[in-house]
Assembly symmetry: C2
Homo-oligomer: 224 residues x 2
DNA sequence: ACCTGAACACCGTTCAAGT
DNA sequence: ACCTGAACACCGTTCAAGT
């Protein structure tokens, strides 16, 4: 069978999924494709180029996912718009954690997202923010979302031993605090233990607080 | 010369600094110590144990840094307290980017931070948040900060070629947008270009918006 | 034109051998 | 008790050889 760019990308995405086993390497990719590991070099200059191409696909998927949830026309519900965008970006990346670790900090020149960025800024602008501030807000939201996503992905692809070790460390830290010395931690330890690596809830918390902050900024802009 | 745990940790921290060259490996560590690379195994079970020990040191350094800026007694300026804490954590991690990438998502059982967490929750509690909500807020702030830090560190240790490639991609994306199709992006492109990898400003933006959100939550708690 | 397979420089890690 | 150095299984990458 002869390889194509598409069949390689597809196989690579499969490897990066949680079921795919956790890591993107040439030897695993070769095995998945039934070809010699180095055959991929005929289609991608190096691993970085492969990662960048995969990143494009995941970004596109995230945009697609957002589009399915968002209304077609313009919307005045800026808060829902931002929340859906953030969750979509996060969801599409976390479907391939092994890639998210490599991709999240990278920028590609894919034109796919340009329209969606323009829309996002326009939603914030119509909500009341000056254009520049709307752009800053978009940048802050996206960086925060990608960072939290990479953070979660990095932990999720650690080997089981390291994950259990961290969980044990957490239990030690917050499990047996003397009440008189740490009264507040003692009372909130159960909740903190619940939140341990419940990344979805922590992300929702961060996002919600951030959006409350955006509301404040919109309010301030309205006064002026 | 005989190795000690401390001399190894010190050398490893040096390697992880920006001047240290970018990556923590056993062979580089051996060279730095003037010993065989595998000699480190006499003092640390594996690389993970070494990374965890280094993480402890960096966390301690961050707490130390915060303590120098924060008042000794209790404070009612919750906003300054949270901002100083976040910036200190970030600064101490970014002094060793190569470690930050490995460390940020990990938890150690180091007791050093327990007191500082209790203090943080207490500041938020005195500001008006119920205990549980104060704890959630601490968790959200710390995860956001560590995530943004890891995100920045991951980019900063990429090889020069990849960094320049990303910068070029950015220029392509936002450099020549048709004004009629992307009116808002066209107007904010200069600012977005400025923000590209000006991680300090972006982090300050995210943190500030987050803290505005915390203020909203404190206000809501006061009403009830 | 595309794939194969040996080879190289690098990882972390193990283990027998030295002192 | 601690260090050395050969060895192993893995990386990404190059290149001559095959079809």
């Amino acid at each position: 069978m002869t390889l194509t760019r598409e069949s390689i990308l597809e196989a690579a995405l499969r490897l990066c999924s949680p079921e795919g086993g956790g890591q993107l390497t040439f030897s695993r990719l070769g095995k998945e494709l039934g070809a010699d590991p180095t055959a991929v070099y005929r289609h991608f200059r190096d691993k970085d180029e492969l990662v960048l191409a995969l990143t494009d696909l995941v970004i596109q998927e995230g945009i697609e996912l957002a589009r399915q949830t968002l209304p077609d026309g313009p919307s005045d519900d800026w808060r829902a718009w931002l929340a859906v965008t953030a969750h979509s970006v996060r969801t599409s990346h976390l479907a391939r954690p092994a890639l998210a670790v490599l991709a999240a900090a990278r920028t590609t020149a894919s034109p796919a997202e340009t329209h969606s960025v323009e829309q996002l800024i326009s939603v914030l602008h119509r909500a009341g923010l000056p254009v520049i501030e709307a752009a800053e807000c978009y940048r802050a939201l996206l960086d925060m979302t990608l960072a939290m996503t990479q953070y979660t992905a990095a932990f999720s692809i650690l080997d089981r031993q390291a994950q259990e070790q961290d969980e044990a460390a957490w239990a030690v830290k917050y499990g047996m605090l003397p009440e008189d010395e740490f009264p507040l931690l003692h009372r909130s330890a159960p909740r903190l233990t619940e939140l341990f690596r419940d990344d979805d809830t922590v992300f929702a918390l961060v996002l919600d607080t951030f959006l409350d902050g955006v509301a404040v900024r919109i309010g301030r802009a309205g006064e002026a």
